[in-house]
């Protein structure tokens, strides 16, 4: 594939990043999808929208999030200087709220009176329930029963925030099926309902819009790294489920050819076992949930169930822009297993006193491999996309600890 002049121009007018993306949507939804695209274009060009968004990001979310020099991890790895972009310190504990603030303001501008969303780990569900509480809009969150079980604290948070959490019992009972049910709800309630998609995937304009709202991460890193080091970073690492935290960090740096950029995808119990969520390393192009992307599928084009210890990465596809960045070679995508992520989870907790989300632990697991090989003046920024309190049950179970009994 030939190299483009810029990696930051996409998508094209049809919502494509190369062959990926698009608008593979049932006719009932198509007019509304066009409405969302038009409303977003108008909002983007309206200084009042930016002012309002920036106000809430600063005063409500607590931005900018710090770029923290992780001295002990750096010492442990003995190579690159490791910085953590502290998205875990945002209100609600993850990067997800950057996007929900942007989209709830858009939904209000469009006059929508009901919000629906899909969630895997529950971080997007919590971030959506939070902004719906703030703006007093009823919301329904679709969540697979497998995820409800392993992310119980987030389910309770959503309910406390006033959201209706609808359990999804079909298919793999995780994020993919929650997405299907949310789409079915949207088709049924198309007149008053806004579908607040949580990752940089789905039908155009969502991958572009979610990316734009998440780019605050990379934009801040650019400024903060200049302040701390007097220059831009050399290496960027982030985990990928649908890919929103990663694209938010990566996108502002895509046209800096000297910056090495790496995304980590969930290899579950190992790619060779077939139980994983590594769509770039083990999938092929397919069409699901409104866009063409790399997809885990069988010989008949049936979508396979993904598998990851991290509910937020447990999805058989990946956002279209990442697919294109993969094919062009601009970004490297590497697999990280459950076990590697769990080890990294404990390492960060012990060394830095920061409990990372299992999702973000996939990024750290690769930093652990990569940093020792890099020179000491290499500046590496890892996106610490969320906090790990929600994962304590999962980690305890894996360690054989029964919470509340043998502690």
């Amino acid at each position: 594939m030939s190299k483009p002049n810029t990696y930051r121009e996409g998508p094209d007018q049809n919502g494509r990043f190369g062959i990926f993306g698009g608008q593979f949507v049932a006719e009932t939804l198509m007019p509304l999808v066009h409405d969302v695209a038009e409303a977003y274009e108008a909002a983007k060009n309206d200084p009042e929208f930016a002012r309002e968004k920036d106000y809430y990001l600063a005063q409500y979310v607590g931005r900018p999030s710090p770029l923290y020099f992780a001295e002990r991890l750096t010492e442990e790895f003995g190579g690159a200087k490791v910085y953590l972009k502290r998205e875990d310190l945002n209100h609600t504990g993850a990067h997800k709220i950057n996007n929900t603030i942007g989209q709830i303001l858009l939904a209000r501008r469009m006059g929508k009176t009901r919000i629906i969303a899909e969630t895997g780990a529950g971080q997007h569900g919590v971030a959506t329930a939070t902004v719906c509480a703030l703006f007093n809009i009823p919301c329904t969150i679709y969540m697979g029963t497998k995820d409800i079980e392993r992310q119980a604290p987030n389910v309770f948070r959503m309910k406390m925030l006033g959201a209706e959490v609808k359990p999804v019992t079909v298919g793999s009972c995780s994020l993919k099926d929650a997405m299907n049910e949310a789409i079915r709800d949207w088709v049924t309630n198309v007149h008053d309902t806004y579908f607040l998609i949580g990752t940089a995937a789905g039908m155009h304009p969502f991958p572009m819009m979610v990316r734009d709202f998440q780019c605050v991460i990379g934009d801040e890193v650019r400024v903060q790294c200049m302040e701390a080091e007097g220059r831009l970073p050399d290496t960027l690492v982030a985990c990928i489920g649908g890919g929103s935290n990663a694209i938010g960090l990566f996108h502002p740096f895509l046209d800096e050819p000297d910056i090495r950029i790496i995304g980590t995808e969930a290899a579950g119990r190992g790619i060779e076992t077939g139980k994983h969520a590594a769509s770039l390393n083990a999938g092929s192009p397919g069409v699901l949930h409104g866009n063409r992307m790399y997809l885990l599928q069988d010989d008949d084009g049936q979508v396979l169930e993904a598998d990851s210890i991290s509910a937020g990465l447990d999805y058989p596809g990946i956002g279209p822009e990442h697919c294109w960045l993969h094919d062009t070679g601009r970004v490297e995508y590497v697999p990280i297993t459950d076990d590697e992520a769990l080890e990294a989870f404990q390492l960060m907790t012990r060394l830095e006193g920061i409990i990372p989300a299992l999702e973000s632990s996939h990024a750290l697991a690769y930093v652990k491999k990569l940093a020792p090989e890099l020179p000491k003046d290499n500046i590496l920024v890892m996106n610490l996309s969320g906090r790990g309190d929600k994962d304590l049950n999962t980690v305890a179970a894996h360690m054989g600890v029964e919470m509340g009994v043998s502690l």
Partner: protein
């Protein structure tokens, strides 16, 4: 793209017009509940009264379908159904029937994975007349609609209550065979529309196309089929037929004796319904 070929769909709708009645379009998922039983039903449908047959291509993630069709898709997949076997069923059907139109309906990914050009060629050779692909709106016409037309297969577009007058010309631009009006916003098998609403919607679509208009979603009785066939060119019944399959499965999900007859008997009642309709 100008459509300058004729399929069984064109001939069948011309015949219905000559008879002065609306038609019955039946939807069943290929291979539900198992390929052998499904083929028996398929072969029995024309005699029972189906004027056009829609055959679902099973998919793991049927996003626009309600519980009945979701479950039928899953049953078929669990019984080993694939797109290759769906085309086999069409080929088997065509051994005895060269007149009843067959429209394959489903989602894009299995077709995309099969390979669009190969699929169009194989489907045409098997005796497929038209395609309905739920997640391919006119915006994505280059994916399959244009290749299908080049391969002389009709590509049937869906119109819905949200398809307004501004958008209708775009939707019918490359339409052929017939236009499918989804009478309610929602998934298959959910609410049903008021006949008066259907009538005005059909009149609205009629301003933009001379093609036959079939109406579906939520039609679940012979009377409802007749009422719709009074005001449109055909009524589509899917979930209600599939419920008859569901009611005739044993606790292991296998077909009970008599399942085929019961499905065909219900199809016959629906067929009798539309035959009372008048144009």
């Amino acid at each position: 793209m100008t459509v300058n070929f004729e399929t069984r769909l064109d001939r069948r709708f011309a015949k219905l017009k000559a008879e002065g009645r609306g038609g019955l379009v039946t939807f069943l998922t290929a291979g539900d509940p198992d390929p052998v039983t499904a083929l028996k039903i398929l072969k029995g449908l024309p005699a029972a009264g189906a004027d056009v047959i829609e055959l679902g291509m099973p998919f793991s993630d049927p996003m626009a379908d309600g519980p009945a069709i979701q479950a039928s898709s899953l049953r078929a997949l669990n019984a080993g159904m694939t797109l290759v076997k769906t085309l086999d069923q069409v080929r088997e059907f065509r051994k005895d029937d060269d007149e009843t139109p067959i429209v394959l309906m489903g989602y894009y990914n299995p077709v995309y994975h099969y390979g669009v050009d190969k699929f169009v060629k194989d489907a045409k050779a098997a005796g497929v007349d038209g395609l309905i692909v739920v997640d391919l709106p006119p915006e994505e016409e280059a994916e399959l609609c244009l290749p299908a037309l080049a391969g002389e297969i009709n590509f049937i577009f869906l119109t819905t209550p949200t398809t307004d007058d501004k958008r209708l010309p775009t939707v019918v631009k490359n339409a052929s065979g017939f236009v499918y009006y989804v009478s309610v916003t929602g998934v298959t098998g959910a609410a049903s529309a008021q006949v008066t609403d259907v009538e005005s919607a059909v009149a609205r679509i009629r301003k933009y196309t001379d093609l036959p208009i079939a109406v579906g979603f939520g039609i679940n009785t012979p009377q409802a089929a007749k009422n719709v066939a009074d005001v449109a060119d055909a009524a589509v019944v899917g979930s209600a037929l599939i419920k008859v399959i569901l009611e005739n499965l044993d606790k292991n999900g296998k077909a009970k004796d008599g399942l085929v007859d019961k499905v065909l008997r219900f199809a016959q009642q629906l067929g009798d319904g539309v035959r009372q309709s008048k144009k």
